[in-house]
Symmetry: C2
Subunit: 412 residues, 2 copies
């Protein structure tokens, strides 16, 4: 949580944090600023001090709305600095940061963050690192950085944001279910009243529309994958595909707050009309692992234990898994879970590799998403909820929704 | 254009390009891949060779859909590499890239690109730079990088994308105009039939909705700024603000293709019902500069000349400008234009600083957006179109829309 940052900085031996980029769609900056219209900025936080937001003059009112300490970048006369740098933008940016560091008394190890164009910043930071003897620029490992670790547990306000997006996500899932089942069936695929076949592309356009209507953004798209595509976990589905009855559809939706804030991650697998026996069997294996592992989860335990548990349960049921068949493309081929917050994938991680030291902690918000994949058999099944490990140690699914495999169609 | 890349690499003395990150909302990657559901990848292009996309196994079908040469990252056994790296993710990533570079015979200067989390990549690239003697990792200046320069001119296909988004943007602007003028006026602000006051927040929700309905994303939000806010160029407007008649509203909309593709940038300034004389005067000054500079623009000329021209024209009309009053927050306070493409702000740049060597070239797609700002007087006016410099040298506004200041209200 934010309140852990100073302690985490001390553990990582960092004297300051420098975050760069816009306020939205940029998790580390949004973590401090919230969702405001700040399109490019620096945020500087010295250990033990409050953060300061450096903003363009044009965005001074928006910067002030963050409630953070602010500093107008026009105070530094970039045109003069650029002239002194001989027109070299990289040198000029390094000189600007050098002045800021001097003015704010920054010394020692400075951790850098922000989702921005890497090339010029890489050069700028190396320039800065070389130019100031008493500064060391530190790029931390993604799984262990101070802010990653802070973000790995959420305060109640953050959980509230994730829950609100979850309400939108599940409402749209219900919209989609209602839309699909309102169709008729002709030659095994969904058609509208005029007999026109429904496509995956049309479903996805409506998902975007319904998300926007309800106040969410969909920056990463969604997965609506049928048959072979359902058997490939990240395959998004093909726009021209028709929608058949009796085949598994993996519907994975992961919207965020409008403007690029907190995400929610949610998946259901549906068969329209009926489920063939072999799909039903795979589905029941996934649901069983979902429930068994969910019941076992408790705080202050290693995350990797649950991935290993899921693998062993699946293997016992006769499926290959990444535990004993690392390169497998059939069976259980991914991790059980991941943290969800300002990024759709964040800590804690649930990889079964032994170096994974992440723990399930009170305040963690994670997905729980076992799945099985058989692309050659045109089967994929995943069930996913976003789960909060409450401060009292109990787990809570943040947006409840029925897990039925079959959506009844009136014609089938 | 893409066809210039090898030549630009030669000029910059780069032997290879390494692009990283997802395919959407990541201009340098999207430039090569188009909009597909690839969430994390590397793209490697050696000078003179076709690019190769390195993708996760789960996204193999999507990677194949790009039409690029592809390579499955699971071929490299990351779990083994991570073990060899002692669980250090930064070392492991550097080792992976080292293997890829070796396998593909990459030597010399490698330019790096991609909008990603900077911290760990900074460390990874430094690691790589240190680890391989025959490799130098190069972060180019943002205004001069090979891919920035390639993207500074667009081929017809790219222009078509920007034009399509422009059709959506202007259709939504018309939606908004129709929505506003359908309201009644009570106590000087817009109200609906039930007498409820319309807010900026409600207008913005509808903008998002209408953009989604028409197939565009709005990742950067939009500006709908009234009075004082209109006088601050990047102020986005306050959700709780009511919508008055007779005050300037700056409405700046910059959506992109659904999934994070090409942008279009467009602004109109409206007064609902009537325009006070002092707003009308400011508006006419802006429109006059818009038309005078637009008529003067021709290809193969320095971009900064037009910014200087705009400043001088505004100063002649009695306004302060950034040319002779660099820190001014009143008058003409920004640049005349910027390139538009896969990023909302890209090359060419129109800064008046002497080091700006960018030229207006056939194939450039730029905004044209003079404006005047008087926050204390609650006046802001900006008129903006997205303009293509055609291969024949003529300019073309990519999405035409009336420039009227006053939107007629039936009650006023």
């Amino acid at each position: 949580m934010k309140t852990d940052i100073d302690q985490l900085m001390e553990e990582a031996n960092l004297d300051a944090l420098l975050v760069t980029g816009p306020a939205g769609n940029n998790p580390y900056m949004t973590y401090f600023t919230g969702l405001v219209h700040v399109t490019h900025a620096y945020l500087l936080k010295k250990r033990g001090d409050e953060p300061v937001l450096f903003h363009s003059s044009m965005e001074r009112d928006e910067a002030a709305a963050t409630g953070l300490g602010t500093k107008d970048l026009s105070d530094y006369d970039m045109i003069k600095i650029l002239k002194e740098a001989g027109g070299d933008q990289i040198r000029a940016r390094a000189m600007l940061l050098q002045r800021i560091f001097k003015e704010f008394g920054v010394r020692g190890r400075v951790g850098v963050y922000g989702k921005v164009e890497v090339g010029s910043l890489y050069a700028t930071l190396n320039h800065l690192d070389d130019a100031i003897a008493e500064i060391e620029i530190v790029g931390e490992a993604p799984d262990r950085s101070v802010l990653t670790r802070a973000r790995t547990t959420k305060d109640d306000d953050e959980v509230g944001h994730i829950q609100e997006v979850g309400k939108i996500a599940t409402a749209v899932v219900a919209d989609v279910a209602g839309f699909l089942t309102s169709h008729q069936v002709k030659d095994g695929v969904l058609v509208n009243r005029e007999g026109g076949a429904l496509t995956v592309g049309e479903v996805k356009r409506r998902i975007n529309l319904w998300l926007a209507m309800r106040g969410a953004d969909n920056p990463e798209g969604s997965i609506f994958a049928i048959g072979h595509d359902a058997g490939v976990p990240h395959s998004a589905g093909k726009d021209d595909d028709l929608i058949p009855v009796g085949k598994p559809i993996v519907f994975d939706i992961y919207p965020c707050e409008a403007g690029g804030g907190y995400f929610h991650d949610f998946t259901r697998t549906w068969c329209l009309g009926y489920a063939p026996d072999e799909v039903q069997e795979v589905y029941e294996d996934v649901l069983d692992v979902y429930e068994t592992v969910y019941s076992a989860m408790k705080p202050d335990t290693p995350c990797r234990d649950y991935q290993v548990m899921a693998c062993k349960l699946f293997e016992k049921k006769g499926h290959h898994t990444v535990l004993n068949t690392p390169q497998t493309k059939e069976g259980y081929v991914h991790s059980l879970a991941h943290g969800v917050g300002l990024a759709i994938h964040e800590g804690p991680t649930f990889s079964h590799v032994e170096s994974n030291e992440d723990r399930l902690l009170p305040g963690s918000v994670i997905t729980h998403e076992p799945g099985l994949y058989y692309p050659e058999r045109e089967i994929g099944v995943r069930i996913e909820d976003t789960v909060w490990v409450r401060p009292d140690g109990n787990l809570e699914v943040l947006a409840e929704y029925p897990k039925d495999l079959v959506l009844k169609m009136k014609d089938v």
